[in-house]
Amino acid sequence: MSNSEIKASSQTLETAKTTSSFSNVDPGKVIRWTLLFLGGVVMVMPIVFMISTSLKWPHEIYELSIIPKEPTLENYIYVLEDGRFYQWFWNSLLIATATTISAVIFDSMVGYALCKFKFSGRMFVFVAILSTLMIPTEMLVIPWYIMARDFGWLNSHWGIMFPGMMTAFGTFLMKQFFETVPDDFLEAARIDGLNEFQIWWSVAMPLVTPALSALAIFIFLGNWTAFIWPLIVTNSPHLYTLPVGLTTFSVEQSVQWELIMTGAALATIPTLIVFLLFQRYIIRGVVMAGLKG
């Protein structure tokens, strides 16, 4: 083949490629992308509205325009100057962090024991823990309340946290993930002279970090946004968590949506930080969960 011939044929090749990429639009792909786009819009809308409302003056909030006519930071200034916000924020942060650390440690410890130790009654314990997953929070609130009252835990940080210090869901999740850790790792460590606690902490735990991160995010978010239980167990405003505190903006004659939205917008910041910190692990975690069923 001469040079020009090669050029010509490569040109035909290229044109062939472009036309084929036009004619090869996969209808399935179009539908998928459309659905995903719509889903994305539906999920993003509340957040957009939250931010837009937080930038509006009170008289404007029922006009459903997304761009405020006269944008203002007045709401942010009000919320941040009102001292209560910081207290609620601190309460939420303290409670969410403490429950996250505690639940991640205890869930993985119990999950590990259920997965790797063969003791009689193991199945029974596992099923018992699992069955608590079927009971909705609304039903648990009353026994929790009675328990908190009898122990004198009403109106305290501990009262808000104690039901979440260990979770059945996390135990189940961690048990499943420890199944993916081959016993050889643990046995090798056992031969190398580690005790069972060291094996769990320095061999098994590092091998399930994706699951730990995912669990940490779930638990942090769950506690950060928890509403019913903190509302019931506390009645002094200095113990309110953010979601509970924010609703007090509405107990006067009219609901001050712009302030609630401002508080909510500020409240999303820590969740964003937590997510960004752990997201590369959570994505890996979800992939792993998908692979290992």
Binding site: D184, F185, E187, D192, P206
Partner: protein, 353 residues
């Protein structure tokens, strides 16, 4: 370094007994290989010795001391697993040093020991890598390094080479053998590959269904298999077995040929065994033991396997040289009389001549 002994070792899971009384003495510094088909209890024996499973009855002794109730870490052993079990979240250095965590040594001494082991396995440049950045063979070397670093009394290997490709396996096999020659530690090695067993072992222990079938040097088990199972298991290709009957003048084979030998204590039904490389093509006019048509020819390079159809069964012969029979050709095969093995067909036990 230490001796190892099993005395009437029995292991049962729930009610199923999987080891039925293992007796074995391993000398100090000996390289013993357990070999047998899948499920015969090799790993179980090793795990009992390591202390990873509890024994049901009997005794295990390491260095003359009964270790039945000792924790794995108190037994002064190190184990290398089939899938390496090196920790993905630690560097090679940390992995090798892991076995020293609980050792009473200064930090510098530990560091020195790790370097020493790294050098011995020629992986000094790899010490700061993560396992994910290593090849399969290198990972297995890390696992061996982690076992070596503590300088244990006994090394245990459970099929350490079976995840490697054929070429690497041969290479690692050689390295393990050299390692043993250098450090001289007692090694107990489990494999289901008889070639690995033959090449590595000072003594081979052949197991089947939780029983020891034979213990001996590679030459002993090859030259004098104790029973039909060992005869077939050791050596590749497998020994040819041909059933026959005891008659007045010797043993009459199914094909009609006569082997003019009467083994000691022979009963009515005798099976003879001939290794493929002991079968030779008979010269013209020479009386032959077996006769049949060539059904398959497998060239292996230096030699060729020919499968010969002799009536109800097929025998394999290893033929040297360039002049080969053709497919479908009728060949006559002979074997030197002292290379013929005799077995009682009913008890499967080998018979002496």
């Amino acid at each position: 370094m230490a001796t190892v002994a099993f005395k009437n070792l029995v292991k049962a899971y729930d009610k199923t007994e999987v080891l039925h009384g293992i007796n074995l003495e391993v000398a100090d510094g000996e390289f013993v290989v357990f070999v047998g088909p899948s499920g015969c209890g090799k790993s179980t024996t090793l795990r009992l010795l390591a202390g990873l499973e509890e024994i049901t009855s009997g005794d295990i002794l390491i260095g003359g001391r009964v270790v039945n109730n000792l924790e794995p870490k108190e037994r002064d052993i190190a184990m290398v697993f089939q899938n390496y079990a090196i920790y993905p979240h630690m560097s090679v250095r940390k992995n090798i040093g892991f076995g020293l965590r609980t050792a009473k040594m200064s930090k510098e001494d530990k560091e020195k020991r790790i370097e020493e082991v790294g050098a011995m396995l020629s992986m000094t440049e790899l010490l700061d890598r993560r396992p994910a950045q290593l090849s399969g063979g290198q990972r297995q070397r890390v696992a061996i390094g982690r076992a070596m670093v503590r300088d244990p009394a006994v090394f245990l290997f459970d099929e350490p080479l079976s995840n490697l490709d054929a070429q690497l396996r041969t290479q690692m096999r050689l390295e393990i053998k050299k390692l043993h020659q250098r450090v001289g530690t007692t090694i107990i090695f489990v494999t289901h590959d008889q070639v690995e067993a033959m090449t590595l072992a000072d003594r081979i222990v052949i197991m089947r269904d939780g029983h020891i079938q034979q213990v001996g040097t590679p030459t002993e088990v090859y030259r004098h298999p104790a029973n039909l199972f060992v005869a077939q298991f050791i050596g590749a290709p497998s020994m040819n077995l041909i059933p026959g009957k005891l008659v007045a003048k010797g043993i009459e084979l199914d094909g009609g040929a006569l082997v003019p030998v009467t083994p000691i204590g022979a009963s009515a039904n005798i099976t003879i065994g001939i290794r493929p490389n002991d079968l030779t093509l008979a010269e013209e006019g020479e009386p032959a033991l077996l006769e049949g048509q060539v059904s398959v020819i497998e060239p292996l390079g230096s030699e060729t396997l020919i499968y010969v159809d002799i009536g109800q069964r097929e025998v394999v012969a290893t033929v040297q040289g360039r002049i080969l029979p053709k497919l479908g050709e009728t060949v006559r095969l002979n074997a030197p009389q002292d290379e013929i093995h005799f077995f009682d067909s009913d008890t499967e036990i080998a018979l002496k001549v």
